[in-house]
């Protein structure tokens, strides 16, 4: 058992100080130390994307990053998407468009989609599919997820237009 290291980071907008062992991944640290269990363990090899979080605005697999590497970083997990208990547009579109079934992959998809929309508010379907290529879903067949992200993008750009399109 190696000794624990103190790490200071900003997690979902809050400054946080925590202790972790160097061998703990960021995913383990989030789930077991900070009790943020939204990020999921899937493959532990960077293939499935269920553990995706944002580190300084970029999507990364938290299973392939050490908790100690979070020092000084700004981290957003799926728990950081809603504001004071109100779901984000993206989360609502996932619900409206039935873009999830079992839900295990959903936190990763939401975080990857947020990373995309933060940088590119008007993505093409191709760009959405490329941005989500590192997230695997075995239930939906992806189509509803892609549609939800495109709908969310349209709604974020101009709320009226999306409502008109829905009718």
């Amino acid at each position: 058992m190696s000794k624990k290291t103190a790490v200071e980071a900003t997690i979902n907008g809050e400054p946080v100080e925590f202790l972790c062992e160097p061998r703990q991944s960021l995913l383990e640290t989030l789930r077991d130390v900070l009790e943020l269990t939204g990020s999921k363990e899937g493959c532990l090899t960077g293939d499935c994307g269920a553990c995706t979080v944002l580190v300084d605005g970029r999507a990364v697999c938290s299973c392939l990053m050490l908790g100690v590497e979070a020092q000084g970083k700004n981290i957003t997990t799926v728990e950081g998407l809603a504001t004071k208990g109100v779901l984000s547009v993206l989360q609502n579109k996932f619900l409206e468009d039935a873009a999830l079934q079992c839900g295990i992959c959903t936190p990763g998809f939401l975080v990857s989609a947020k990373a995309l929309l933060d940088r590119n508010p008007n993505p093409t379907e191709h760009e959405v599919r490329y941005a989500l290529a590192g997230n695997l879903c075995r239930c939906t067949g992806y189509d509803k997820i892609v549609r939800a992200v495109l709908d969310a993008a349209r709604d974020i750009r101009s709320p009226g237009e999306a409502k008109a399109a829905a009718r």
Partner: protein, 300 residues
Amino acid sequence: MILARPGGFQVLHAINYEAPTTLDEAVSILKTHGENARPLCGGTDLIIQLRAGVRRTEHIVDVKKIKELQVLSFDAKKGLRLGAAVPCIEIHESDVMRRHYPGLTEAAHIIGSLQIQNRASVGGNLCNGSPAGDATPALIALGARARIVGPSGEREVPVEDFVVSPGRTMLKPGELLVELLVPPPPPQSSDAYLRFIPRNEMDIAVVGVGAALTLDGDKVKAARIALGAVAPTPILAGKAADALIGRKLDDAALEAAGRAASQACSPIDDMRGTAEFRLHIAAVLTRRALSIAAERAKKN
């Protein structure tokens, strides 16, 4: 790859973590622990290998805080300096890289998913020593050199000499890859990287080909062709380039280069493809990569 996993959270064995901010400090830590230390960049190979037990290292030396490893700069006379820890995504987002080194840029942009590209570096891809690393043939084609520091000073080696066998490099204990130095592209030159995989994204190369060439009017003045996943290490196919020099890049020249590239390969049969298939694809991708590089070169 982890084939079977007993129940419970799979953890890394106990490790020590250090994050030096200078090259001297990093070399000193690496020297102290020798074979028992390993530099960490994006961790997208290393952490998986430690978890799976295929590499054992007690001392992780996070080198991302060393400024020399984060340099990405281009000078028309001196060429490119690419720090070993620069993440792939920064290469793709760099106008200079897309303009002057499109082949290396496309290689960096097909390594894994965005989650991987946001962490993984071209330097790390090289140090991982995989025969199938995508960035390595692209670097070799460009004539890149690796700048290494270690306990007995600095040295530079051509990238084609860097990987010595699958998963092993010529780095000695205590040595660290600092940056990759790529010559400036001559007029009428460009590069391209193509990879064959059975799907659109997220797979390991069955064959990868990097090609760089310089034209003189409609004749080929200089060329370098490098291949991945067709031998125990990435290879430079010197004879494939020789087949082009002084010739027009017509079908016959492309055919000759493709044949020579294929002859330079010593592939294996594995789950990704047979040796026979790889030999065929090596020739096809060589022709195509050269054609793309030539089209680009005409615009430069």
